[in-house]
Chain length 326, copies 2
């Protein structure tokens, strides 16, 4: 394993250890067991790792940002548990979602509990910047809800523009990522300029990351992504691919896409047909290009960092994301 | 209107004004409209009023605790919106619940958004005690989830003890009330002893308040309480009345109660039958006695307050609660 892979493994291990401590298996069982379960079935821990890398880059130690890193992962898991209910998704990280394994009430409460646990963890920080960090965190909570609301609203519309899409993913996906880099930089001791550069870096990788998710949903098999194949298409989600194809695909394809979007039940054959349409109209290629472009932009943002040579770890993080398959 | 009623009206008005400002009707509409709706259909605002009275008692001004008071009401409304989904309640404050008027996804998200808005409001406080207050608030969020989880677990059990009941309501109902008095006292400038006395006061009225809710559910008509008549019995809730009657009612009644609890559908006739059983076995009287006793205990706690004569407002608050019918 190279140095960077070792660093990532080490940080992930620290986060996972703290996550287990933060989510004890105590009573009431119907609250803590599903929370513990959901955190035990895996997860890449990208947001906390990113936060810790940002803290290191700005001169801090892992311990300076560890509580906040764990908090952001708890918050991220809250969004997953609740989104899975709303999106009727039954598979996550290759395992049953909380509402599928238990029921909706349990999943609602598990998500709520995760928010509380996230704030508890955050409030362990001794930092003098705690109030600033709490405010950033809270604005993130609100924006994530806004993003999810837009995402749900877009499901029943077929005139969503790319501009609206970028607004939506900036809130739903991007905000937790920019929050990770910002809070990491603040807790690492970065100055305003460094915090802003890292925010912009987070913004760029957030966009790339979400378009990648959109792409993976329809190109990678279930065993690889650990989620239901084509669930975005089935739910009528206005992904990057969907918006682009509604805008650019030849008329006969556009009609067919609208038919599929309007179908009360989307069959596996329809999903493969959508994949085919995305492929032959070069939408998959365009998405791949957009992803690469956003990751490159992220690295270019890092060129502006005062000690550019110190950004090596984050550039490797960018590469790691670029090459992810799930 | 007497002085106290005027004070309450005035405080309620201030809270309502701030609640409207805290929940703007902006986009995404599917997030903010239901939040605004739910806060517009009424509500007694007892927790924020109690917090403001606690702040006044400890030497503070209304403005010192107003943001926290609004935050606690937002948090309380989050619990109502999510509990209504879990409990399948369709009526609240005489109006349709959020998941009934919209759908479950909208209600899940509205509740989540309310948590975020609650923290945003709390974090407006300029107080130096902000981190202390945030930690108390967060422990409250977690305990409220724990209380709701116990409440749901108890629905499918018929051997719940009174001790378990008091543990559950202490978390589900009591915690937001003790939080209100504690945070009010902290922000008003109270010392540790005063904060603790007000916590104990909150604890006593929390118990009385919940047993009252249990009682109102089965004795007051829907038009009065604004909630579905007998919804606790229909849901198999282990209320004070239910636990007492399973413990103390003559054997033939106990058998009948278990039948009703096991019924897949509880009819209006069954609800009236339960009311009848509660009445003839003196369970209603016992509940009324327990309520009065807890409110008296609350007032006795106030006797220990350093400036006992200043506690007049809170004693009037106790009386107001004692006489409530909804």
């Amino acid at each position: 394993m190279d140095d960077f892979s070792q660093t990532i493994s080490h940080l992930k291990l620290r986060v996972d250890q703290e996550l287990m401590i933060a989510t004890p298996q105590i009573k009431p069982q119907s609250l803590y067991e599903p929370i513990h379960y959901f955190l035990s079935i895996g997860g890449k821990r990208l947001r906390p790792i990113l936060m810790l890398l940002a803290a290191r880059l700005t001169g801090g130690k892992t311990e300076d940002a560890l509580d906040a890193a764990v908090a952001i992962e708890l918050l991220h898991n809250f969004t997953l548990v609740h989104d899975d209910i709303m999106d009727h998704d039954h598979l996550r990280r290759g395992h049953a979602t909380v509402h599928t394994r238990w029921d909706e009430s349990v999943a609602i409460l598990a998500g709520d509990g995760l928010i509380g646990l996230a704030y508890r963890q955050l409030l362990k920080l001794p930092s003098q910047r705690l109030v600033t960090v709490c405010r950033l965190f809270t604005e993130g909570v609100i924006e994530v809800c806004e993003g999810q609301a837009f995402d749900k609203e877009f499901e029943v519309r077929d005139d969503v523009t790319l501009q609206e899409y970028f607004l939506m993913i900036g809130k739903k996906t991007g905000r937790l990522i920019t929050m990770s880099t910002q809070i990491g930089a603040i807790l690492g001791g970065g100055d305003d300029k460094e915090v802003e550069i890292l925010r912009e870096y987070g913004e760029a990788i957030g966009i790339a990351f979400q378009i990648q998710d959109d792409l993976l949903d329809i190109v990678e098999p279930e065993e690889v992504i650990g989620k239901t194949f084509g669930s975005d298409v089935a739910a009528g989600k206005k992904t990057y691919l969907m918006i682009k194809s509604l805008e650019l695909a030849p008329a006969e394809y556009r009609e067919r896409i609208r038919d599929i979007l309007r179908a009360s039940q989307v069959s596996p054959e329809m999903l493969l047909e959508m994949q085919h349409i995305f492929r032959v109209t070069s939408i998959l290629d365009q998405a791949a290009h957009e992803i690469e472009e956003a990751y490159s932009r992220a690295n270019r943002v890092l060129d502006r960092f005062p000690r550019a040579e110190a950004t090596q770890e984050l550039r490797q993080f960018t590469d790691m994301l670029l090459n992810r398959r799930y």
